[in-house]
Amino acid sequence: MLEIKNLHARIAEDGTEIIRGLNLTVKAGEVAAIMGPNGSGKSTLSYILAGRDDYEVTEGDILYNGESILELDPSERAAKGIFLAFQYPVEIPGVATMQFLKVAMNEQRKARGEEELKTPEFIKLVKEAAATLQINPDMLKRPLNVGFSGGEKKRAEILQMKLLGPQLCVLDETDSGLDIDALKIVSDGVNALRSPDRAVVVITHYQRLLEHIVPDSVHVLYNGRVIKSGDKDLALDLEANGYAGIIEAAA
């Protein structure tokens, strides 16, 4: 489903190279975890997948279902089924959460040539999804993410993911800022979306999240490249021994 080939990318503004020859393949149905020390390029990778124009791809390609997505803007990628759950969801005062959800769902439907949702149908979908994530309906009456706690913001991201039903989910440090109960709710939300035709890329610092969302593969990112790949035991090894050994071995 996702094939990243020899990807090189830099910050558009100052030319700093962040991703330096990254290769990664994630198949449909797979949950891939990406781990790595601070500054290894994890968040940058998630932004590049989503199409943020602060980064320039200088070499290589990203294939999604066999097609390059480099020329697509973020909204076109999202309409094709790529979803990024933000590490820091932004607060947008003045934009009502429900209005945002409705516009997002209908724009994606429109882009795919599907019919728009009618209001009662939409409200029903949101209510059901919110209930499974233990989201208080009052939260949805507020402007988008405004005044949400860290945990509420992350739950709201998973709610959006659930409603938009993407094929490729990229979770950028979704565990940061979550307490144990919230971590469980969010993980359950993600696990419920696991399916043979959907892939999930989980970016995280800690093994803790991977106890809840058990990955099929684990990849260590360092200096903008994947330096080691393995199964879920690799995450346990990292938890016990840190990154130093792997980094040394790769050098």
Partner: protein, 423 residues
């Protein structure tokens, strides 16, 4: 001997004077009213239209900007549906009032009656030598409404003053009195006609007795060739609360003056102003606010969306009298500049004579927030739609402060429509 030569009258000044000569015979009022009108017109004749040399008109050089003064002839204006269904509509079709029956607790008369009653002459005075709007309106005023809400009355339905104009000249005056602890919501709406170029003026006087709680919404929907000169004067008694909303969404040349006096302890003003500016227009909102006694508070937020070659002005003057200790005044002016050719001038002016006060002001000019745009687009929302949502959100944040949900919805729909038409 010094001989001061006055510049010759401009075409617009001449047209105003000619216009007065033409209509003076038909204007309502007794002898003192007529004398007051004459005095105002000769002041216009002497001083001419204000120029940028007058401090209060520095950013709106009216002598240059007011170019064509239409004759009295006009198209056919028509009453429209109120902004919120079920409102009590006080219509002014081409400036003319109608006979309306009103609920208990509300007293209403037309301004034409008031002008004829012998009590009006004292009202037809200008605020000062720079008060062109007061002069012009006082000289030409034909009609309008005067109403008062009895003490302790809560008027449930929204009162909508609905002025519809199709070209020509319209000069209206409004006086609204709110008794002690009275509450009311008033929509003060002026609509122009797309295809016509009209000139209108309005002077509104609000008097809030102690503890009155009033929401007053000025909704300016002039046609794109209209010229609008409006002034609101409000006096707030002790513990009175005025929530003043101004939405400018039209016009070629617009000046809206707001003069508020916090005259009783505990008085509070909230000003929320949304300026939607497009085309080749010039829109000026000028506030003077007097904190005249101790313990009064105010908060002013102005949000501007500037498109095309539009120009906007906000002048915000806050005066704190020496006795007005514990004043708390917060003023902000935020502009979303969406065009390289548009401009917005913000002039805050604080005159503080008391020493134990909090007064703050700030002005920002911004573009669409890149992070916000990316977030929305990452959810599949096209760039155009995402930008629209963000521009809407920028101004809707102020509208959301209104308590009446029907009103919020109606105003947000109106703003959305304006942005869709002009964006």
């Amino acid at each position: 001997m010094n001989i001061q030569t006055k510049p010759p009258h401009t075409a617009a000044e001449k047209a105003i004077l000619d216009s007065f000569a033409e209509v003076m015979g038909q204007l309502p009022g007794d002898a003192p009213v007529t004398a007051a009108r004459d005095k105002l017109v000769s002041a216009i004749s002497n001083d001419g239209l204000p120029t940028r040399r007058l401090e209060s008109w520095h950013y709106t050089d009216l002598r240059n900007l007011l170019r064509d003064v239409p004759g009295q002839a006009s198209g056919a204006a028509q009453q429209v549906d109120p902004l919120v269904r079920g409102s009590l509509v006080l219509p002014l079709v081409q400036g003319q009032s109608a006979d309306i029956s009103v609920p208990d607790g509300l007293e209403l008369s037309s301004y034409m009656e008031l002008l004829a009653s012998g009590e009006a002459a004292s009202r037809l005075v200008a605020r000062g030598a720079d008060d062109l709007i007061g002069r012009l309106n006082g000289a030409f005023v034909m009609d309008g409404y005067s109403f008062s809400v009895a003490a302790d009355q809560a008027i449930e339905e929204i009162i909508e003053i609905q002025s519809t104009q199709s070209g020509g000249q319209v000069h209206n005056r409004f006086a609204a009195g709110f008794g002690a602890k009275a509450t009311a919501t008033v929509v003060d709406r002026h609509l122009g006609d797309k295809g016509q170029s009209g000139l209108s003026s309005a002077v509104t006087t609000l008097d809030l007795a102690d503890g009155a709680d009033v929401t007053w919404i000025i909704l300016q929907g002039c046609g794109e060739a209209d010229q609008r000169l409006a002034q609101l004067n409000a006096r707030l008694g002790a513990d009175a609360k005025l929530k003043l909303f101004v939405i400018n969404a039209g016009g070629k040349l617009v000046r809206q003056e707001l003069h508020v006096e916090a005259a009783g302890e505990g008085a509070h003003l909230d000003l929320r102003c949304v300026n939607l500016l497009a085309g080749d227009s010039h829109t000026d909102v000028t506030l003077t606010l007097g904190h005249n006694v101790p313990n009064t508070t105010s908060s002013e937020i102005v949000r501007n969306v500037v498109l095309n070659r539009a120009r906007g002005v906000f002048q915000g003057q806050i005066r704190v009298a020496q006795v007005a200790q514990k004043t708390d005044a917060q003023m902000a002016c935020n502009t979303l500049l969406l065009s390289d050719d548009g401009e917005f001038s913000a002039k805050p002016e604080l005159e503080i004579f008391a020493d134990d006060v909090i007064c703050a002001h700030g002005a920002t000019v911004i573009d669409i927030d890149h992070n916000h745009l990316f977030y929305l687009m990452a959810r599949g929302i096209s760039e155009k739609t995402a930008r629209g949502l963000l521009v809407n959100g920028f101004v809707d944040e102020l509208i959301d402060e209104l308590e009446n949900e029907d009103l919020v919805e109606a105003l947000e729909t109106l703003i959305e429509q304006w942005l869709a038409d002009h964006g």
